[in-house]
């Protein structure tokens, strides 16, 4: 008895939804970033499951997962640098406190 592909897809969809909820519900920029990272990693679970079940002979699925991982890291690095720079001037990274631009 092997675990069917659907289980992985459901797991990944659930993780993606949790990440999505985190992005929409949290007000702290770092918590939002964590939500985004969770979404990207949920997709990675999805990609690897597809690779294993549909095209185990072709490594492009693995390459896709590695690239998503790298991009997520680059995004996190840039994002955290931004947060630090904002925190230095505002002493807050709550997105509700950022209201200089509106209209």
């Amino acid at each position: 008895m092997t675990i069917p592909l659907t289980w992985y897809l459901i797991l990944s969809a659930a993780l993606f939804a949790i990440g999505l909820f985190g992005v929409l519900a949290r007000r702290n920029a770092i918590a939002i970033l964590i939500g985004v990272e969770l979404m990207l990693n949920a997709v990675n679970v999805n990609i690897l499951a597809f690779w294993r079940y549909i095209r185990p002979d072709d490594p492009s699925g693995q390459v896709f997962a590695i690239i998503v991982l790298t991009v997520a890291a680059a995004e996190a690095a840039v994002g955290l640098a931004l947060f630090i720079s904002i925190y230095r001037t505002r002493r807050s990274i709550n997105v509700d406190h950022l209201d200089a631009l509106k209209g």
Partner: protein, 488 residues
């Protein structure tokens, strides 16, 4: 596999841009420069950047008639991507001219700025060429991450940092959707190549969900309603040269990439996507135009206007015909000239107070005509062109788009677009009225002396908006030949 089988030639323009970017970056840490020489060095770097852009444009023009598919079909260089490259390179060159003087007012990190700008250009050029999901994702991220940093480049100013944060959070969010959509399409077909996806897509739930998620992600990137929340803030807060560049470049590249993705969706009925795009287009132009009506800042007004313009350009994709694509490309050229020109004028009206929003408010332009008649006339030309008044480029762009829509049977969409143009004329004209009809007072503010580089950029943009209008017929026809040569 070996080196020569990859056919590097077709990627030469992109490689030149990447190489220039690395060269410009490395100059930041080579040698010591005194405080006085820094500005001169910034100008030298701008020249290097411009040379890189020009070489890439030259190479692109030389390749215009040679369609090629390379890197095992990961990229496709054809007429579509060549013309897209020209739009992007033009936008970048104008942005460099704007930054020439503007940048030195708040930073000495010239190398980093131009290097990131070139990286964003490379990302956009690759995005327009990509015919494979991983390539598409990577190039999209290269351009997005560069633009997040560029948006927040004026980091001591609150508005810029805030704009950058909002752009980053929503952009990263959109990336999640795009990559999820790509994963589902990969699962559906077992391949990341567009051609394989077109051939093997099941047309079932996975295909549908995959394309829908990709569409949502792209809608974020081209700032289509209801995924546009970040746009006004990011465009208003970003340094004006960056705003001018990204409002044109990102939209152009993402629209072409979206077109390529949708072309591979042929196995799913195209009508479904056309309807989704039509609704997107309808919402985008209406919301953009209505929201622009009540803006008091010229920069924010232009931000909402660029949302509306994206709505017009989507019509080309809705039509999905040769004519539609041709009209979209023509409009992209016209849009590059008139929109960057408008932002260039706006950048000269900004107040110098760095502690605040430092914005080009409508009051700053009051009675501009009596103070700076040429500048006011130039801005008026861009406003007329954006509004779509003959004989300027914007008018013919809209004409071709609406014509393509009617030709493909989307009469109602063309009618809505015409009504929208009428609404938009109100706020574009308001800027003109403020400049020409009202008397200048103490709130009128122009940055003097007007830098030569900005004058050059504005002159190029004015000439482009005028000539594309006067020579609309021939230039549209030449675009048509190139597009027809593409695989339809």
């Amino acid at each position: 596999m070996n080196l020569s089988s990859l056919n590097w030639n077709s990627l030469l323009p992109e490689l030149v841009i990447v190489a220039t970017s690395l060269i410009v970056l490395i100059t930041a840490v080579v040698g010591k420069v005194s405080r006085v020489d820094r500005i001169a060095r910034g100008h030298a770097l701008a020249v290097v950047t411009l040379i890189g852009l020009l070489i890439a444009a030259g190479l692109t023009i030389m390749q215009l008639s040679q369609p090629a598919s390379d890197f095992m079909g990961m990229v496709q260089s054809d007429a579509l991507s060549h013309y897209l490259n020209l739009v992007i390179l033009l936008a970048a060159a104008l942005a460099v001219l704007l930054a020439w003087d503007y940048l030195g007012r708040f930073t000495y990190s010239f190398s980093e700025f131009y290097s990131l700008l070139l990286l964003a250009v490379a990302g956009m050029m690759f995005l327009g060429k990509s015919t494979e999901l991983i390539t598409l994702f990577v190039s999209l991220e290269i351009l997005s991450i560069s633009l997040y940093i560029l948006t927040g480049f004026n980091r001591h100013q609150l508005a810029s940092a805030e704009a950058s944060l909002k752009y980053f959070l929503l952009g990263a969010f959109a990336s999640g959707f795009i990559v999820y959509g790509a994963a589902l399409l990969y699962g559906d077909t077992g391949s990341t190549w567009f051609s394989d996806i077109a051939a093997n897509a099941s047309g079932g739930f996975l295909t549908l969900a995959g394309f829908a998620l990709l569409l949502v992600g792209f809608a974020f990137k081209i700032a289509a309603v209801p995924f546009h929340m970040w746009t006004p803030d990011a465009y208003q807060g970003a340094p004006t040269p960056v705003t001018a560049f990204m409002s044109v470049g990102t939209k152009a590249a993402a629209l072409v990439a979206l077109f390529r993705v949708l072309q591979s969706a042929v196995s799913a009925p195209y009508e479904t996507w056309a309807w989704a795009l039509a609704i997107l287009s309808l919402l985008t132009m209406t919301v953009g135009n209505v929201a622009a009506l009540r803006q008091t800042s010229i920069k924010r007004l232009l931000a909402y206007s660029s949302i509306a313009q994206a709505g017009y350009m989507l019509i080309g994709l809705v039509a999905g015909t040769v004519l539609g694509l041709q009209a979209m490309l023509f409009y992209l050229f016209a849009y590059a000239f008139m929109n960057i020109g408008a932002f260039a004028c706006a950048s000269l009206l900004e107040s110098d107070d760095w502690s605040e929003l430092q914005d080009a408010s409508m009051a700053n332009a009051r009675g501009l005509f009596s103070r700076q008649p040429l500048l006011a006339t130039a801005l008026a030309i861009f406003m007329f062109s954006l509004a779509g008044i003959p004989p300027l480029a914007g008018f013919f762009g809209k004409l071709y788009l609406f014509d393509a829509a009617i030709d493909a049977g989307w009469l109602w969409l063309a009618l809505v677009a015409v009504i929208n143009s009428v609404i938009s004329a109100y706020y574009y004209m308001r800027v003109v009225v403020v400049m020409f009809m009202e008397a200048p007072d103490e709130s009128t503010r122009v940055r003097l002396p007007i830098p030569d580089s900005a004058i050059l950029a504005i002159v190029i943009a004015v000439l482009g908006a005028l000539l594309l209008g006067i020579l609309a017929g021939p230039s549209f026809a030449s675009l048509g030949q190139a597009v027809v040569a593409w695989r339809f």
